[in-house]
């Protein structure tokens, strides 16, 4: 088990180093970092001095090592646009993105699982067909279009719910939250639905597929033969066994939700990390771009690692396979 965890950890570190190399290449070789940092009135001597101070004259390998060392200490340099440390800018917006991502993950689970169970248990009902058709449309509609349609429907036509921003926020230490005010909660509704809709259709289809498979197994037939109630069979036995794959996918999707949040953030002008990244791409603010890239990679790799380890804990066959392969 320990060997398995160590091997996975090493793989994760290799992935992170590769991403760091890409981020470093971006920072170092796309445009001249010095030109981006100083104004036109800076003299050549000052430029040369800054170049020396930043260590840009050192061998590239040493520069890369320093870049990685700084990144580990969360030092990504200063933003070209704002002239303030990138990590402060990101820390400032991190809570907004996380609240949006978690709200939409909860939305997709709370709505998606019951819809999946219903469509599996009542395969031929008209409501199931409507759910399935809707899910196909949900997959085909780009996220930003869903957001625009929701804005058109609620704030514009019906005049309810805000269409942009985060509402009032409360500061709790380093974390700002919109969950404690009425306007903050209202502002969260449409962005969370927009972001969660795709995951919801995914979870619904997944739960449906798994349920249909489990319902055909012998132990379910046996449970019915024992005279258990439908509720006990469907929820106590069948649903429980579908939840392991569902939780895995939901966990893995959390990374995508955080990454895809930037589209939703753009539609609703939600002040999160995605919006920061988007502005950085438009203005070629490379320190923010590379920091965001590393952060997203870190979230993805961590989630993958946790899921892998949890799987090995739950399912001993994976450990044995891994040992055999080694």
């Amino acid at each position: 088990m320990l060997a398995f965890i160590i091997r996975r950890l090493l793989q994760a570190i290799v992935v992170m180093l590769t991403v760091a190399l890409i981020a470093f290449t971006l920072f170092r070789f796309v445009g001249d970092p010095i030109n981006m940092m100083v104004g036109i009135e800076t003299t050549n001597e000052e430029r040369a001095q800054l170049r020396q101070d930043l260590g840009l004259n050192d061998p590239v390998a040493i520069q890369f090592a320093r870049f990685v060392g700084n990144a580990v200490r969360l030092d990504f340099g200063n933003s070209y646009q704002f002239k303030t440390p990138v990590i402060d800018l990101i820390a400032d917006r991190f809570p907004a993105t996380m609240e949006l991502a978690i709200a939409s993950a909860i939305f997709s689970l709370v709505i998606g699982i019951p819809m999946g169970v219903y469509t599996a248990l009542h395969r031929r009902s008209w409501l199931s067909n409507i759910f399935l058709a809707a899910s196909l449309i949900g997959i085909s509609l780009p996220t930003f279009l869903i957001g625009i349609l929701l804005i058109f429907l609620f704030p514009v036509t019906l005049g309810v719910l805000p269409s942009f921003g985060r509402g009032e926020v409360v500061r709790l230490g380093f974390w700002t939250t919109g969950l404690l005010t009425a306007s903050g909660l209202k502002a969260l509704v449409l962005p969370a639905i927009t972001l969660g809709l795709f995951q919801m259709t995914l979870i619904m289809r997944l739960v449906r597929g798994e349920m249909l498979e489990v319902l055909r197994t012998d132990y379910i037939k046996f449970a019915r033969a024992r005279g258990l109630t439908d509720r006990a069979v469907n929820f106590g036995h069948a649903l429980k066994n579908t939840l392991v794959p569902v939780m895995t996918i939901a966990g893995l999707q959390l990374g995508s939700i955080i990454a895809f949040a930037l589209i939703t953030e753009s539609v609703f002008q939600w002040p999160g990390m995605g919006l920061l990244f988007l502005k950085a791409v438009q203005n070629v603010d490379i320190p923010i771009m590379s920091a965001y890239l590393l952060l997203v990679a870190f979230i993805f790799v961590t989630i993958n690692l946790i899921v892998d380890i949890l799987y090995a804990v739950v399912d001993p066959r994976i450990r044995i396979d891994a040992r055999a392969a080694a």
């Binding site: 085909s140 625009i148 791409v281 438009q282």
Partner: protein, 317 residues
């Protein structure tokens, strides 16, 4: 009379090519599914409309001599204040929304097709090489695929777009942007092709025809592209169709975020971005009609992809 002089009837009457196509399983399953036929019709309509946009569009929305600010902000023709020939209304500069949709679909479909083609060629080539060469080459290509697939495609496309901004600076004209879009979307979708093709190549390379080709001294490149490729390309078609829908969505999203085609040469995504500003002024038609076109196109292509996947899946026959 021996059998050689008089071959069995089945060999004599070989059906024509056309007949063979009509009788095939693919056409049978296509004609049996009403949804698929509808999807094909919708796709064909949008594609034809896009190709013949200059002949269909009542006005060229990007010819300044043809637009008049006096015609701006017209609602669709069936609403009060609607004017002929502006069937779907006009935007704030007096451009005909129907015509901008036709020209916009052109951009969306062109970029989607080119990007899918590029991703397909890159993925197939890398998959063939990885599967056939094995060893270190295989390991490097597949690890790169693993790392790339941990990131959402849209992020990679955005990153490439950002780099192009730094590299081209002021010279980023419409043609450059078009090819940057093709490149960035193409590069973010090659992984799936490479994995699929590598898998089938691993199976094919041990078959006797490959062995025979190697024995008579054909170069590896020729074996790969002339002999192995035709045998592994089937599943790629399905991936390509579904990826076409994804590529169109990605292009629209990038353009919507302001990273794609500029308003002077808009795609459907750019049109929606422009129209979004006017939603609150009650001028919903500027954003909603391009949105509906985009949704219809993507849904139709997705349905075609689903059908193709089921029709080519031997397990479901």
């Amino acid at each position: 009379m021996s059998a050689a002089e008089n071959p069995p009837e089945i060999l004599m009457r070989r059906p024509s090519r056309l007949r063979a196509i009509i009788d095939s399983d693919l056409v049978y399953s296509f004609l049996r599914s009403k949804v698929t036929i509808a999807a094909a019709v919708v796709t064909l309509l949008i594609v034809l409309a896009a190709i013949f946009a200059p002949y269909i569009a009542p006005k060229n929305p990007y010819d300044l001599t043809q637009i008049s600010i006096l015609d701006s902000d017209n609602p669709p023709i069936w609403m009060e204040g609607g004017q002929s020939p502006y069937v779907l209304g006009t935007d704030d500069q007096g451009r005909d929304v129907f015509s901008t949709i036709l020209y916009g679909s052109r951009q969306s479909i062109a970029i989607g097709l080119m990007a899918t083609l590029f991703a397909g060629m890159l993925g197939i080539a890398l998959g063939l090489i990885a599967g056939y060469a094995g060893g270190t080459t295989d390991a490097i290509i597949m690890r790169a695929a693993d790392i790339q697939s941990t990131f959402p495609a849209i992020l990679i496309a955005m990153l490439i777009d950002g780099v192009s901004r730094a590299l081209f600076g002021e010279q980023r004209n419409e043609t450059v942007v078009f090819w940057v879009m093709v490149l960035s979307i193409g590069l973010s979708f090659w992984v799936q092709y490479a994995r699929t093709v590598r898998g089938s190549t691993l199976v094919e390379k041990n078959k006797e025809y490959v062995l025979a080709a190697r024995l008579i001294g054909i170069r590896p490149a020729k074996i790969l592209f002339r002999h192995v490729l035709p045998n592994v390309v089937g599943p790629v078609l399905v991936i390509a169709t579904i990826n076409l829908a994804l590529a169109i969505i990605t292009e629209a999203t990038l353009s919507f975020l302001g990273l794609g085609l500029p308003p002077t040469q808009p795609s459907l995504g750019t049109l929606i971005q422009i129209g979004q500003k006017f939603l609150f002024a009650g001028e919903w038609w500027i954003a909603i009609f391009p949105g509906i076109t985009l949704a219809a196109l993507v849904l139709a292509v997705n349905l075609l992809g689903d059908w193709l996947r089921d029709a080519l899946n031997p397990k479901l026959r």
